[in-house]
Amino acid sequence: MKLLKDIKNLLIGMRITGKHLGRHAITIQYPEERWEMPERSRGIVVLLSDKETGDLNCTGCLLCMKACPSAAIFIDAPRDPETKKRKLLTFTVDNALCCFCGLCEEACNFSAIKMATMYEFSEPEKEGFLWDMKKLQEVGLDVDYIDTRKKKPAKKVPKPATDSGTATDKIVPDTLDSDAKQTPPAPEPDKPKEDGE
């Protein structure tokens, strides 16, 4: 009787695989068909430009650079001795180092950097992964985003620290250099950027 049971179970297995044989494939043919990436999908890092003027939103505050766990972002933004404002000279992202964690996007207060849904950036040479400011801006031109800068017009107002008790004096990231302390502090860093989703 064990033999009959075994044969029955073997046939059940064949039935299951045979049943699947007639079904349609669930995979897609990649280069022709493409996966529709979810809105939140974290692909390559891009720099966003102002929708009206076309200038970069980035102010060179170095917050994303400090937030990056794998040191993939290099920013050169020296402070102008007169105006005390930073001038963004270079902004380079090493896509080979990037770990796609999205911390830079969350650290940014100026809607300047975003992880786009693009995921194809293979390069034959390792140097090709170094994307400079121009390329990052170019790629980021048609990336849709919600501009959160306009909501905070008063840049110099220190973050609404009054309501968050203990964290008041620590709100300026002390990972920044001493001169960075004068840059606009982080306004409500915990607030999710994707309110609109």
Binding site: T17, G18, H20, L21, A25, I26, T27
Partner: protein, 354 residues
């Protein structure tokens, strides 16, 4: 006009070719040499095409069972994907291990491929479509396919690799064990036909579908099931593919082979799969017999049906362990096949059959 070899329904084509050959005015011994060489090339071509087709087909079936597409790039549903693969393997660098046994390493794939190739000589592809109707046809096939064991053992030894050696030893143990139930199952049919000629076996099953040996209850179905189990093992296919057991021995005996040599093993494996299916069709499913369609189409359809069964096995079942495999062969399959053989002999003696 008579031809040295009848070609059944393809008579016209082959007759014309033969006349063409005769019209060149070659003297007699050379005429035969050219004719047999052409036949050999034809069989070789058929096997290669069949093997390539089977590789493609297996990939497609595996893919569809797993809800994938499988090869899709080259031609309609990737039909010439395997051709491209074969060309790739042919042109690939032949990586050789320094510590190999040169002679053994070189000849192993050749023997494997030739053994698979020779078996096709006595397979009746259709009415009259047979290269040589030997009167010991089935015995010849059994003898020739056993060469595969030697080649796998040679490959395992010649590679000078421990995994390959384990694979070679496993294959020797397995194939020798499964040869016995396989032959015992075949003998049931031979017993009833009274001849070992493949053509005679097929002719004995002419007429209604009930004349097929697989429907001769009770010994027919039992013989078929035991045969197909043993044949799966003979063709080294899951659940009996322990000689190459990818997850245990990485690739078993062909671990050190690359390029053309690997392609020979690979094609031989699929050619063997086709051979055992063709034997199953010849013995149990009435060979080329069938209505309406030409005989060779029927034969191919039936054979591909059996091959499909083997493929379904492969993509459904896990693999047995080496000792369980032996245990299954010696403690279950051998007694069952012999009991079946005795039963069949007794029924034949008593006349209780139709």
């Amino acid at each position: 006009m008579t031809y040295p070899l009848p070609f059944g329904e393809l008579h016209g084509v082959f007759g014309w070719l033969y006349e063409l050959l005769e019209s060149t005015g070659l003297p007699q011994p050379w005429l035969d040499v050219v004719r047999y060489a052409a036949l050999g090339a034809l069989v070789f071509g058929v096997i290669s095409l069949l093997a390539l087709f089977l590789v493609w087909w297996e990939r497609k079936i595996a893919a569809h069972i797993q809800q994938r597409f499988g090869p899709m790039r080259h031609g309609w549903h990737g039909w010439y994907q395997t051709v491209a693969d074969a060309v790739k393997l042919l042109t690939k660098e032949d990586i050789l291990v320094d510590t190999r046994d040169k002679f053994v390493f070189f000849w192993a794939p050749v023997i494997c491929f030739v053994a698979a190739f020779l078996a096709y000589v006595t397979i009746p592809f259709g009415e009259g479509l047979i290269v040589a109707d030997l009167n010991i046809g089935i015995l010849y096939i059994m003898a020739i396919t056993t060469f595969t064991i030697i080649s796998l053992l040679m490959a395992g030894w010649g590679s000078n690799n421990k995994y390959a050696l384990l694979g070679g030893i496993r294959s020797a143990a397995q194939l020798i064990s499964y040869e016995i139930p396989m032959v015992a199952s075949i003998l049931v049919v031979v017993l009833f036909v009274g001849s070992m000629s493949m053509v005679d076996i097929v002719e004995a099953q002419s007429g209604w579908i009930t004349n097929w040996y697989v429907f001769r209850v009770p010994f027919g179905p039992i013989a078929f099931i035991t045969y197909i189990i043993a044949a799966t093992a003979e063709a080294n296919r899951t659940p009996f593919d322990i000689p190459e057991a990818e997850q245990e021995l990485v690739a078993g005996y062909n671990i050190e082979y690359s390029g053309m040599k690997f392609a020979m093993f690979f094609l031989a494996e699929f050619a063997n799969g086709f051979t055992v299916s063709a034997i199953a069709v010849t013995l149990f499913f009435g060979g080329w017999h069938g209505p309406f369609l030409p005989s060779w189409v029927w034969f191919l359809l039936k054979t591909l049906g059996v091959v499909f069964l083997l493929m379904l096995f492969r993509w459904t079942y896990p693999r047995l362990r080496v000792d369980q495999l032996m245990e299954f062969a010696w403690k279950f399959l051998v007694p069952v096949t012999f009991a079946n053989l005795i039963l069949a002999a007794w029924m034949k003696y008593a006349g209780w059959y139709w």
